[in-house]
Symmetry: C2
Subunit: 648 residues, 2 copies
């Protein structure tokens, strides 16, 4: 067995796959189709039966949108786009607009009162119970503004945006505990924080030159999913990826730093040949809290700030600028890739605990003990250029993505997985060629205690000529591989909008049965009558409106110019898929209203005369006639008898 | 032949298809796959050869986004999403943000100076030469704000937004002349326009009660695609769909009105059993211009406003609330559907011209002569509930979508098409069941003088249970049918974001060869050095920045707090697909920068201390290190020696 995996054999394997791929490419379009028996599992019937996609898809994919500011959702193996979930950035298409005061409040910076309309989502984290997805929520972080949001998976709608205090943005890693009670987010972009924090950690920062400081942020998650401040641990370095351990690594937060140089620009950030992987003991953070070794800032009096010196933290060297950081299903192996190298370190967390016990330290830096890498590593794999992220399947394999090599390598893990795969661990078992540069990759359940396996999706950062050209700005490419076969087969490809980072993949059985078809909010307001109220003190008109095919009621209301208008809409629809919209000609006002939903929109009545509003979702054959008027009267011409009165 | 198409036979045909469809649905998932020979044309090979989609797709689809505010683009027959083109609404995902002053200017209302961030795109109109698509531009209208934009198909980027003057929004129909020199847009939402217009047309509008007035708007298109005011014809009615004729109908604008009742709410808009189809002679409009039968308003001194009484216009009755309005390839037949009926009128434009000549009028209303419907119609087809839109193929067939029946009926046209299809015209030849309610539909080239045929895409408004559930808000469904077979076969389905109205489909050969991979703007600035300029009078810092993997230069600059910051970025990239982004932590600033592109972003330096900016497009293994700093100094602490100086 071992002889088969000599470096030469592996190289030959690589080359063979490469040549094979090229050959297939050259044969196109003369390539004959595979016989039916072979294609059956991954091709669609023709003509197509109704509900084919709804009945044959096995998984939902929740992909972070990056600069899209929310999440993309699609089905597997169909690779059919299903939906987008707007989170941090207004998205008129999906009715996620700050003219709705509830949405505006979520998007408003709680300390400055400024409406924030920009964001950059990175790492979705599906809620878990006992280390396994439970289908309740998707949490997602915003790198740019430093926020975490919760999406309700029954409605596919954002229900909370949590703002990390004491920072100027620039977070990166984001992970959830195996029981969903703690979320950790890392500060990637080094800061010059509140002087209270600088004094507490004993580092005074020069805002012009640095070196700056950073830390990790704990968020408590209540039973209903509500997030609140837990703690903030500041230290000398920035942190990149984050994982909260489970199984063998339960009770520990694990993070990387690519800039242990504490540099402020790119080249010096690569000065050291090794950076660090950190192990933070959660109990020690809770103890520092209990011991009141904390300060708070004026901005966040309820956020305890802790110094890294007051908690139990260790570190071990990892090759040049690590990025990928992923934990195997039992919680035993921590695989970390040096993204500017060809190396992936497999750290064994049982060895980490033993090394701590045995004090196998090779030094310290900034008071943090450095664990001997020889004592904690199971392997250091030299697998290819630009390793990025790692995922795990249910058969004891790790999958490592390579940005430069543009492929994914499949590698058998060590014990206890050898009984599953029966191979020599840490040697390449398959190479999956990607088109092209692999950023993140994902296996269904691949960051949980029980991966579902079966597929791997490569999230490629450069698609180049995979799809039809469409101007200089190209889309992303998600590639689905069937990993039940070796070599793995490319099942399908899909372009997706900018720019997914990580995705999580969850079985249909955990989402579909819980999915709501209508909201229940409108029921409580069933007996309320539409009406219009005029508040002369507040200079405000409040319209209580019902919406149903094909009528807004009231369909007309009069308003003095310059007054604020607040419309509360109640959808009287109960039928599946009967969404209405509200758009006001010439104003920055668009909202959508799902069946049974209650929503508000607000604006100022600026333009005298007839202002039409209309349903912006095609809802019936009477859709275009579903419109109404706001009549704005110049304030000097307004008289109380112009008030709109509705019959009973 | 004729006997075969008795109503009973047709009904049997419907029933047979319906039962067939249900049977297929019930058999799932036991349905066996078709043999390879049958599936070859529309199934993908497995494993997939590289560039399969780029090499096998035949058409690009440009689909209006509705409340998405721009266009969606995908490939046919792959049904693979390719891209989105933001137009009227900011779209951070695609870097279309008003912090770029050029984009902000396009989105700013030219009369109020207000930034407009809401829109509702309806009808893409691809540029044509001699009545056939030429692949230069896509024009698209915004119903909500009353605008038309031009998208450059070499870059897939919006290059102009034209604002229709004298209106408060609410346009609908949008069409382009066969030589692309004229665009017409209809005013759907009735207005209370400038008193100058009311006096000129002799109708004084009560802003509270109406009846209001509306009209059609002409836009001239220059050789370089630039749009400018042509004329505006106001009249007593609103107008819905618009077509500029070609071939037999060359020189005429054709429009519908669903509200000839001049009502202000839905039910009364259905009071008349027939509304009107209008024929406007373009030469007569140009003559009114030449004769100076025009007025202008203070808002738009360069927009000639004409009364409908001063132009040559005729109308003919069409069943209850027409919506669909489409012209057959030779320009002869105008098919118009009464959307609240089961009827589609086939008007023969040659008969229209003859009837005008023979003065076959049955009366007039508001000075417009009413053409005898018996004199101008070739057929009145009774085909199903809720007819919407109509498209045409290359074999002499019309395809009519039905919202309520949820299907598309294929109907042979009359002469000269009978030599092509050799069937009795105006009788159903095929029924394509849709999932579910058909809004628009499209055949490649289906609104041109030479349709490409082969496929029809049904753009369904309600998808219900076609895909996996995903909360109350469901996506749209585009269904691709192969119409080279009878009965037509469902090739594929795709969910798409909200909410496409019309699409246009154009061959790959007209787009792919022209598609740019990089911008050339940066070349002219190749010798410019990065620098930072401080303007103490304007309180403005101007940063001239170069951007290349993996550096912003300058990577740091100092700014006094409260000053305006303008950054002009020059991409030094030339490689395909090497887009960078610019995001500023904690600010509402995100932009993207394609290879060779030059862009600006502006903001005010609000937050003292370190403000990181970073590349928001994953560009290389050094991507995360591609970041820089704006150091904001409280203005009282600022000293000129803090100015950032760059080496030569």
């Amino acid at each position: 067995m071992k002889g088969w995996f000599t470096p030469v054999a592996v190289a030959a394997l690589f080359l063979g796959l490469l040549v094979g791929t090229l050959a297939v490419g050259l044969l196109l379009p003369a390539t004959p189709l595979a016989p039916v028996s072979q294609v059956q599992a991954f091709q669609k019937p023709y003509p197509m039966p109704h509900q084919y996609w709804a009945k044959t898809d096995e998984f939902y994919v929740f992909a972070s949108g990056g600069q899209q500011g929310g999440l993309y959702v699609y089905g597997v193996p169909s690779m059919k786009y299903l939906s987008e979930i707007p989170v941090f950035v207004p998205d008129q298409a999906w009715g996620w607009t700050p003219e709705d005061p509830e949405i505006r409040k979520m998007m408003t910076n709680p300390w400055t009162g400024q409406l924030v309309t920009r964001g950059d989502t990175h790492h979705p984290a599906l809620s878990k119970t006992k280390g396994v997805y439970d289908g309740r929520w998707a949490f997602i972080n915003d790198k740019m503004q430093g926020r975490v949001a919760r999406v309700d998976l029954a409605t596919f709608r954002t229900s909370q945006i949590y703002w990390v205090p004491n920072i100027s943005g620039g977070i990166h890693g984001h992970h959830i505990a195996p029981d969903s009670r703690l979320i950790v987010v890392n500060i990637e972009h080094e800061q010059s924080p509140d002087p209270v924090i600088q004094r507490h950690i004993g580092i005074q920062v020069d805002p012009f030159k640095g070196p700056y400081v950073a830390g990790i942020n704990g968020i408590r998650v209540a039973d209903d999913g509500k997030m609140s401040n837990a703690w903030q641990v500041w230290g000398p370095w920035q942190y990149d990826m984050a994982r909260i351990g489970w199984g063998k690594s339960d009770g520990w937060i694990i993070t990387t730093s690519y800039n242990t140089e504490r540099a402020t620009s790119a080249v010096p950030m690569f000065a050291r040949e090794q950076d660090y992987l950190y192990f933070w003991n959660i109990a020690s953070i809770e103890k520092a809290l209990a011991d009141k070794k904390v300060v708070t800032t004026a901005q966040a009096p309820d956020m305890p700030v802790i110094s890294w010196k007051d908690v139990e933290v260790y570190m071990t060297p990892i090759p040049l600028n690590p990025h990928g950081l992923d934990i195997s299903p039992t919680g035993k192996y921590i695989l970390t890739s040096g993204k500017a190298t060809t190396l992936i370190a497999a750290v064994d967390f049982e060895k980490v605990l033993q090394a701590i016990k045995d004090r196998k330290f090779v030094g310290e830096e900034f008071n943090i003990k450095i664990l001997d890498q020889n004592a904690v590593r199971s392997a250091t794999m030299d697998l290819g250029m630009g390793p990025t992220h790692i995922e795990f399947d249910d058969q004891g394999y790790a999958y490592v993505g390579f940005f430069v090599d543009s492929d994914i390598k499949k590698v058998p893990l060590g014990e206890p997985y050898t009984q599953l795969h029966k191979r020599e661990p840490w040697k390449v078992a398959d190479v999956l060629p990607a088109h092209f540069s692999v950023g993140h990759l994902v296996v269904p359940g691949g960051d949980t205690a029980q991966p579902y396996g079966k597929y791997v999706i490569s999230m490629n950062k450069l698609t180049k000529d995979t799809f039809l050209p469409h101007g200089p700005l190209r889309t992303e490419n998600h590639e689905l591989f069937n990993i039940r076969e070796t070599p793995a087969k490319l099942v399908d490809q899909m372009a997706l909008g900018p720019e997914t980072h990580y995705s999580q993949v969850i079985p249909v059985s955990l989402i579909t049965p819980r999915s709501q078809t209508a909201y229940k909010e409108a029921r409580a307001l069933a007996s309320e009558k539409p009406r219009v109220e005029y508040d002369y003190n507040a200079k405000e008109v409040r319209v209580f409106m019902t919406v149903v095919r094909s009528f807004f009621t009231p369909e007309v209301f009069n308003v003095p110019q310059g007054w604020k208008v607040k419309v509360r809409m109640v959808s009287q629809e109960t039928a599946l898929d009967m969404t209405h919209g509200f758009a006001l000609d010439g104003y920055n006002v668009v909202a959508s209203l799902d069946p049974g939903e209650v929503r508000e929109v607000e604006w100022t009545a600026e333009k005298p005369g007839v202002n039409w509003f209309y349903c912006i979702w095609f809802c019936s054959e009477l859709h275009m006639e579903m419109r109404g008027r706001m009549i704005v009267v110049p304030s000097q011409e307004w008289a109380p008898q112009m008030e709109t009165k509705l019959g009973s």
